[in-house]
Structures are given as C-alpha cells and as structure tokens.
C-alpha cells in the first residue's frame, strides 16, 4: 500500500482547492460530532460518578452477613448451670455453610471442592443437591473456624455462611440424661433442653438443683460398681429431703450430648425417671411405716416367720430365713418377706394402696423432665398382691419415685414434689403429710439398725450415721423371675438423726464375684456405692462427722454375737424413742 504524504493525502498539489474544501468540511463535521461525542462521554462519566456517590454516601447500613461475615456474638439460647453456677450447657456461635444452587455455575466442580474440605459428605449426593433448582440448600452445619476458612478459600460463588449456634456441653457425659439434647436447629429434644425449650430459646438461663461435684461422685462410684459386678446399667440419686431438690441423678450407661449421633438409644434411656423396676425389699420401709402409722403394730410387735407363707398357689419365703418369730425391727433388719406380708395383710390392701398412692408410687412421678415412666401396679389388687407389694414385688416404680417416697419416710413424714431446678434458697413447697413425725422418727431408728447390724452394713460411713435399706429383686423376664438377673439397690439417708439427704443406688443385673462370695445382693453391690458417695459428698456440703460410741465400726465374730448385739440395740432404741416421746408429751 502506498503511504500517503505528510498531511495524509496523495496528489495534494494536483487537486488542491477541492480537496482543501473537502478536508475542511470533513474536519468541521468531525469537530461538531466530536463535541457531541464528548458530551455523551461526559454525561456517562457523570452518571457513573453519581451512581458511586449514591452507593457509598447514601446507602443504607450494610446488611449484615453479606460483606461482613464475622460471626455475630448474638447467642440466643440460654445457658444451663448447676446449683453452684457451673456451666453445664451453653451455645457457641458457629457458621453453617449453605449454597444457592441457582448461583452455582459448576455443581460438579463445586461438589468436588467441597468434598475435599468435608470428606464425610457424599460427593454425588452433594452434586445433585447443588444442581437443584432451589435458592437454598444446606451443605454442612456448625463448622469449626478452620473449616469455614477452608470453604472461604475455595471461593465458590453461590456458597455462603449463616451464623448459627452450636450447643456445647462442657461436662460431657456427666449429667447427660438430665440435660438432654438439642437438635441441629437448636430445639430441645430431650431432658431439660426439651422441658425448658421455650425459656432457653428466649435466652434465659436455667439453674439446676444438680450439684456437679456430687453428680460426678455418684457417677464415678456407680461406674466402678458396674465395672466390678459386670452390670448392664445403674441408676443413682441424691435428693434433698427438706426441699425436694435433686442434687444428683445418674443413669448408666450414659452418652455424650456433644455427639448425639454417635449414641445408641439404649444409652439415651434414663433409668432414673423412665425405667420402672420391681424394687424389692426397700418397699418394706413403706410397709413397716404403714404398720406403725396406722397403729396396726408397734416396735414391740412381731410376726411369726418360722415357716414360709402359702397363699393360693404362691409361696412366700425369706432370703435370710431365721425360721422363728421376728420382732418388727428384726423384720426390717433381716428383711423378712414373711413378716412384711403378714403386716401388710393386717394393715389391709385398701389402706396400703392409699399410703402408696400418697407416697406417689402409683402414678407417674412429677418432675420437670419429659422422660417419665409410668409405674406398673397390680390390677386387680388382690390379697396376694398386697402381700407381694409389701416386699416390693408385683409393683414397678422408677428409682426417682422410690427416692421421693423414702424421703417422705425419713424427713418427718412429708412428701414433697421433686424438682430438678435449684430453689436458690426459696422456701420449699409445703408438701403433703403422709406419715406422722413419730412414725418417721421410729423408721429412722430402724433404718439405722439395718446399716449397723443388718444387710446394709456396707453403707456405713464412720461419723455420718447412715441409715437405709437394701433391696434385691429378681427381674421378671418373659413372665418368669430369674434368680440370676437382679435389680440390687440400697436406699440410704444421712445423718439419720435429722436426715438431710436420701441417696439411692440401683445396680441392674450385677454378677457376684470372689470378693462378694458370689453375692450380688443390694447389701453387697449397692450399699458400698451409697457409703462411698456419702463419704465423698458430706465434706463437700460441709456436714461434719459426729464421733461417738456409735461411730466406731464393730466387728462380730459370729452371726449369733451380732444377733445378740442387735437385740440389745433394739431394746435401747425402743427405750430411747419412748423416752423422747415422754419428753415431748
């Protein structure tokens, strides 16, 4: 191509005039048009400038969560604390990652990247989810900061975070059944989390009556017992007899509420409130209390236990059979079914039902937990039932109900509703009188004898005057009572002169071992647990041991010597009670 000359044209000198005219005309047009173009550009830049001013200076407050993805410290759900303020459950702010599938350009590629961060996700399912025609799908909830960072680094458009909160249980398994669980949306689905869901959801805290130290002591002692006796489970309770507050409630096996998915249902089962069991001889406490309270019998009274009772097709015999007449204290101390059955018959089935009903043993326990089991009671309630119920067979109640009723026996005769919430010094509910104060005083004396001379000797703690009663019940499995599958329990109260706490330990299907001479009864497996718990909790609660002649452990070389000592002690007890009654009259 030929290059034009300096002024851009060839042959200028040949057609100067015409071309000069064309040139200047063209230049004039170009200049006019250039001014127009300049105006258009100026306007366009002006519009951009106005838009930038509009965006920056007149914008509303930035919507949270889009540009500023820092976790917001607003935690909605309230904390759960123990009676001393120790944190049992709290919520931490976390981020959950979601996707807007309609903004995902490459679902397959995005799924590949996300699976690299979350190997537990199914890649194909995730890719399908990301390809759906929806505006919102969850990818994963409650990320740890590292994971959130990793997702951010992926830089996938259409993937975002939502600030959420995650429930955290700093104590792990320790109070799992009481605390319960929340689901992934932060709604309580078990335990206190469920029963106080609204209150917690409103951001209010809940302060439980549980004392974490005692809870922990009970749990450790029960775990040790379960291990030693190869039991399938255990339950334990500590109840304040004056207020109805539960200081400890343990059900084994337990679970970690921080990892709810990993727990089988069997671990979630709360043996304390949901499970109902035939409790066995601990029921004799109620039978004797009824006998005394109704005046049917007295501490001086007694029944013939020389031979098994035959009622219709049934045969009632004693485990520790003495084969002789037994006084009322002896019936409790030696745990005589024969004696208890006769006493119950004398009291009468109707009055028995009335007492048991007022002790809360015939209806569902009232406690602020969703998992409450209904007791199993005989129907119809015939004489034979009156007799078996007198020693705790043919009726199944929850450990919670038993503890509550025993508290009424020892605290002066008043049944108070049990609560899982801390009263925080508020006056306890008045409760309902079931037994007279005198009956309660006599029962305490008898329970002390059980621990000092009877089946509950393993619960003795020097200086703390534990009183109580053992229970060993064969489990009814497929319609048959099995000698090898038992519920062994011990319910204790201390200090027995003015009991402040009732402590119950229940071991499910313990197996005897060498140390216990193959015994797996309440006295051998449950009483030591209660003793150990009392030994640990009393100093925590500031209860000083009282050292007197009774605080020394006594060893008897023979059974006979102990029986003789018991008779002496019974005499002294009766005399002391009579003396105090005379004094109070």
């Amino acid at each position: 191509m030929t290059e034009p000359r300096q002024n851009g044209l060839r042959d200028t000198d040949q057609r100067p005039i015409r071309l000069e005219g064309t040139r200047s005309r063209a230049l004039d047009v170009a200049r006019n048009r250039l001014l127009m173009a300049g105006a258009v550009f100026g306007l366009a830049f002006f519009i951009v400038a106005v838009r930038v001013i509009d965006l920056t200076a007149f914008a509303q407050v930035p919507r949270a969560g889009l540009v500023n993805d820092a976790p917001r410290p607003v935690v909605a759900r309230g904390d759960i604390r123990d009676r001393n303020g120790v944190l049992l459950a709290t919520s931490l702010p976390t981020a959950s990652v979601f996707a807007d599938p309609r903004e995902i350009i490459d679902p397959e590629g995005a799924a590949d990247k996300l699976v690299a961060v979350f190997p537990e996700l199914n890649r194909d399912r995730l890719a399908a989810k990301l390809a759906e025609d929806r505006r919102f799908v969850w990818i994963r909830r409650n990320l740890v900061p590292d994971e959130q960072h990793a997702v951010n680094l992926l830089g996938i458009p259409g993937v975002g975070f939502v600030g959420e909160e995650r429930r955290v249980y700093p104590q792990g398994n320790v109070a799992a059944h009481v605390l319960g669980l929340t689901n992934v949306d932060g709604q309580g689905v078990a335990g206190v989390e469920q029963s106080f869901n609204n209150r917690l959801g409103d951001g209010d805290g809940v302060r439980l009556s549980i004392d974490l130290r005692i809870q922990n002591a009970m749990r450790e002692e029960l775990q040790a017992a379960v291990r030693e006796f190869r039991a399938i489970g255990a339950a334990g309770l500590v109840l304040d007899t004056r207020t109805g507050e539960l200081l400890a409630t343990v059900s084994l096996p337990d679970f970690d509420p921080n990892a709810p998915g990993a727990n089988e249902d069997v671990r979630r089962f709360n043996r304390v409130t949901t499970g109902v069991y035939e409790m066995g001889s601990t029921f004799k406490l109620f039978t004797i209390a009824m006998g005394l309270d109704t005046g049917t019998t007295s501490l001086r009274g007694g029944y013939d236990a020389s031979k098994p009772l035959k009622v219709a097709r049934h045969r009632i015999s004693d485990y520790h059979a003495k084969n002789r007449w037994l006084s009322v204290p002896e019936i409790l101390v030696y745990s005589s079914n024969i004696g208890a059955a006769q006493m119950a018959m004398q009291v009468g089935g109707e009055r028995q039902r009335d007492y048991l009903g007022r002790l809360g043993l015939l209806s569902r326990a009232s406690i602020e937990l969703p998992e409450v089991g209904a007791p199993l009671r005989p129907s119809p309630w015939r004489d034979i039932n009156t007799m078996t119920v007198s020693f705790g067979h043919g009726i199944a109640v929850s450990p919670l109900q038993l503890t509550q009723a025993v508290a009424a026996v020892v605290n002066g005769g008043i049944l108070r509703p049990t609560t899982i919430l801390s009263l925080d010094g508020a006056p306890p509910p008045a409760g309902e009188r079931v037994f007279s104060a005198s009956t309660s005083r006599q029962m305490r004396a008898l329970m002390r004898l059980v621990v000092r001379y009877g089946t509950g000797r393993n619960a003795e703690v020097a200086g703390y005057k534990v009183g109580g009663k053992t229970g060993t019940a064969e489990k009814l499995i497929a319609g048959r009572y099995r000698r090898d599958k038992r519920i062994s329990s011990f319910v204790g109260a201390f200090p027995i002169d003015a009991p402040r706490y009732v402590v119950l330990a229940v071991i499910d299907e313990p197996k005897g071992n060498k140390r216990t001479y193959n015994y797996a009864t309440g006295g051998w497996v449950a009483a030591p647990v209660v003793g150990a718990v009392v030994r640990r909790m009393a100093p925590m609660l500031g209860i000083a041991p009282v050292m007197d002649d009774e605080s020394e452990p006594v060893q008897y070389r023979t059974k006979k010597a102990r029986e003789a000592a018991l008779r002496v002690a019974i005499g002294k007890t009766i005399a002391r009670i009579r003396g105090s009654q005379l004094a109070s009259n």
């Binding site: 191509m1 290059e3 034009p4 300096q6 002024n7 851009g8 044209l9 060839r10 071309l19 064309t22 040139r23 063209a26 230049l27 047009v29 170009a30 200049r31 048009r33 250039l34 001014l35 127009m36 173009a37 300049g38 550009f41 100026g42 366009a44 830049f45 002006f46 519009i47 951009v48 400038a49 838009r51 930038v52 001013i53 965006l55 920056t56 200076a57 914008a59 509303q60 930035p62 919507r63 889009l66 540009v67 500023n68 993805d69 807007d100 309609r102 903004e103 951010n152 680094l153 992926l154 830089g155 458009p157 259409g158």
Partner: protein, 373 residues
C-alpha cells in the same frame, strides 16, 4: 523545566510538544492501579494457592514496562503510528484467529496464546490497532474520491468481530464495534444512518443475548429482580456500601476475599470498599479528564486522520473504563471488561499503554496540527 525550549534533541522536543496533562493523568491512574492491585490481589492469590504477592509483583513489573512502551510509542509521528498499527493489526488479527485453534481454554473461553513462554491476549492488541487502521481507511475514504474506505473498515470490523465472538469475547467485540461507530459518526455519517447503527447495536446485543449462554445469564441476572443480583454484583454493591465516604481503610476490605476477580474485573469495588467514595470519584474524574481533555486536544487538530484516530482511541479507553465501572456499580449488565491501568493483567496493561502512547503521539504539537497550545 529541565529541557530548555531551545534544546532540539528528541526528548526535549517530545517534552515540549507532548500533552503533559494527559500524561500526568495516566501516570496517576497507573499509580492508583499499583496500590489497588497491592490491596486486592493478595487475597485472590492466596485463594488460588499462589504466593501472596504474586499478582502485585507481576503488576509492578508490567506497569513500568507499560510506561516505557507508552513513552516510546508517544515519540512516533502520526505516520509512524499508522505504520505500526497496520502491521500490528495484521499480527493481532492473525493471533486472535490462532487462539481459536491453539489457545488453551481459560474460564470457558480461548483468549490466550503462548509465544515463546509468554502468555498474551492478542485481542487486547487488536483493539487499538483496529482503531487506527480503521481511522485511516475512513479518513482516506472521506478525503479521496472513490476510495472504498468505509467498506474496508466495515469489512475489517466484521472479520475482527467474527474472530472475537468465536473465542467468545463479547466485551472486546462491543469495544471494537463501538470504536468503529465513533469513527463513522465523526466522519459525518448521516444522522439517519447513525440511528440505524444504534439500532444495529441493539440487534447485535439481542443476538448476543440469544446466542451466548453466559451473556444471557448475566443479562437475566441483571434484569430479573426475582433471580436477584448476581452473586458477584451483590458482593460488589455491598462493598461500596460498607466503604462509605472514606472506605474501611487499606487492607480492611472483605469483598476481595469473596470475589474471584477482585483483582481484575471487580477492582473498582475493592477501591470503593477500602478507599471509599473520595478515591472512587478521583478515579472517575481522572478517566473522564483523560478522555475529555484528549477530545479537546483532538478538536484543535487540523489533520482528519489524527482527529479520527486519537478520538477513537480515547473513546475506546473511555468506553472500557465506563463499561467496567458501570457494571461494577450495577448500571449495566457485567461485560467482563477490565478497568484500564487499574485491573491486573499484563497484555491489557501493555496494550493500553500502547493505546495511550499513540494518543500522546497523535496529539503532540506538530507544525501542521494547527491551533495555539
């Protein structure tokens, strides 16, 4: 000044004849660009697994190189500019066509070509060279009876557009077509035809909408409020809002962590978030100044080729800046164009330096350029 007027050396002549205002404005834009690349690119570099200052370091090599290119180019005479562009346009067009066959696919498009270990985007060089070559043809057609300059220029446009749309690169196509439109408008196209060309533009836009999925997606996002603001645009707008008058402060922005193209197409949003309204307005003002001051300079020139070429190069530069800023602020659907001298990119920065170097060369005071300056 360091150069006395009596000094007739090359550099001294350059200094006294060059448009020093435009030069200063371009240098300021490039300076702001380096700062913004420093601000925006580390987050992007870290995200894609590169060294933190990978982009910043590379850009700080490109920019001085680009300034050198601009300086050398600005030494050329208009004739030299034209010669360079005729050759350059032929090479750039050939390479652009070559990308279709040998270029690697990046983000769904083949726009790159590797030459001797260097990766470059020939379409960036096609833009300015096309403008100059097309200006020459149109000018010739205007000044020489019977020379089919319009047809040659239009044919060249079609060829370039076909190559670019095959990549596909709709943004560059629109820029080139816009350049051509500015030229025929200046060359005195009858107003009725101007209206026709505008209609043709809308036709082309509709065509692009129906034939390119990514264009349709972008426009749908823009138009349909139910579909919502596109993710990137939404984030960009939030960035401006959170920036406010004076910004969140250098390095305090968050949008760069969320936008894949924070260092390129969306760098204006980073500027808005970290440096605020004031710096954004300064940027808009600088771009507007370069374009309008350059137009003013062209207005006084007596050489039609110079007027056409300089104006269309400036228009190209201005349109690119406008498209980028307008789409980042959600005034128009996203185009995928970069912000001149601000966005990261080697080919783009050097091609733009060449563009501005040619503008400086064309608007230099010459004996025949006319007017008092």
């Amino acid at each position: 000044m360091a150069f006395p007027r009596t000094d007739t050396s090359l550099i001294s002549r350059w200094w006294w004849t060059v448009d020093r205002w435009t030069l200063a404005a371009v240098l300021m834009i490039a300076g702001i660009g380096i700062v913004l690349t420093m601000a925006a690119s580390p987050a992007v570099a870290e995200r894609i697994g590169l060294d933190t200052f990978y982009f910043a370091r590379r850009q700080s090599v490109y920019v001085p190189l680009a300034l050198a290119v601009m300086f050398v180019t600005s030494l050329l005479s208009p004739k030299g500019v034209r010669r360079c562009c005729v050759i350059g346009c032929a090479i750039a067009l050939a390479l652009t066509i070559a990308t279709l066959f040998v270029g690697p696919e990046v983000k769904g498009a083949t726009r790159w070509i590797r030459i001797g270990g260097l990766s470059l985007q020939p379409s960036e060089f096609l833009k300015p060279t096309f403008a100059v070559v097309s200006a020459w043809f149109i000018c010739a057609s205007r000044q020489e009876q019977g020379f089919p300059g319009y047809f040659i220029a239009t044919g060249l446009l079609m060829l370039c557009a076909a190559a670019l749309l095959s990549q596909p690169d709709v943004g560059t196509t629109i820029l080139i077509a816009g350049t051509w439109a500015v030229q025929i408008f200046l060359a005195g196209l009858p107003m009725i035809l101007v209206v026709l060309v505008v209609l043709m533009f809308f036709g082309g836009a509709l065509g692009a909408y129906f034939s390119f999925a990514h264009v349709r997606a972008r426009v749908d996002h823009f138009l349909d409020p139910a579909v919502g603001e596109g993710y990137q645009i939404g984030r960009a707008l939030e960035a401006f809002r959170s920036g406010g008058l004076f910004g969140r402060g250098p390095g305090e922005g968050r949008v760069k962590e969320q936008l894949p193209d924070a260092h390129a197409d969306f760098i204006f949003a980073v500027a808005g978030e970290e440096f605020g309204l004031v710096v954004c307005l300064i940027l808009v003002g600088l771009f507007a100044f370069v374009v309008l001051h350059g137009f003013g300079r062209a207005l006084k020139d007596n050489n039609l080729f110079v007027v056409l070429a300089a104006t269309s190069l400036l228009a190209q530069f201005g349109m690119q800046a406008l498209f980028n800023m307008a789409s980042t602020t959600h005034l128009i659907p996203p185009k995928g164009t970069t912000l001149p001298f601000i966005s990261y990119g080697g080919s783009a920065t050097i091609a733009l330096a060449w563009t501005m170097g040619m503008v400086l060369a064309l608007t230099r005071q010459r004996p025949d350029s006319g007017g008092e300056r």
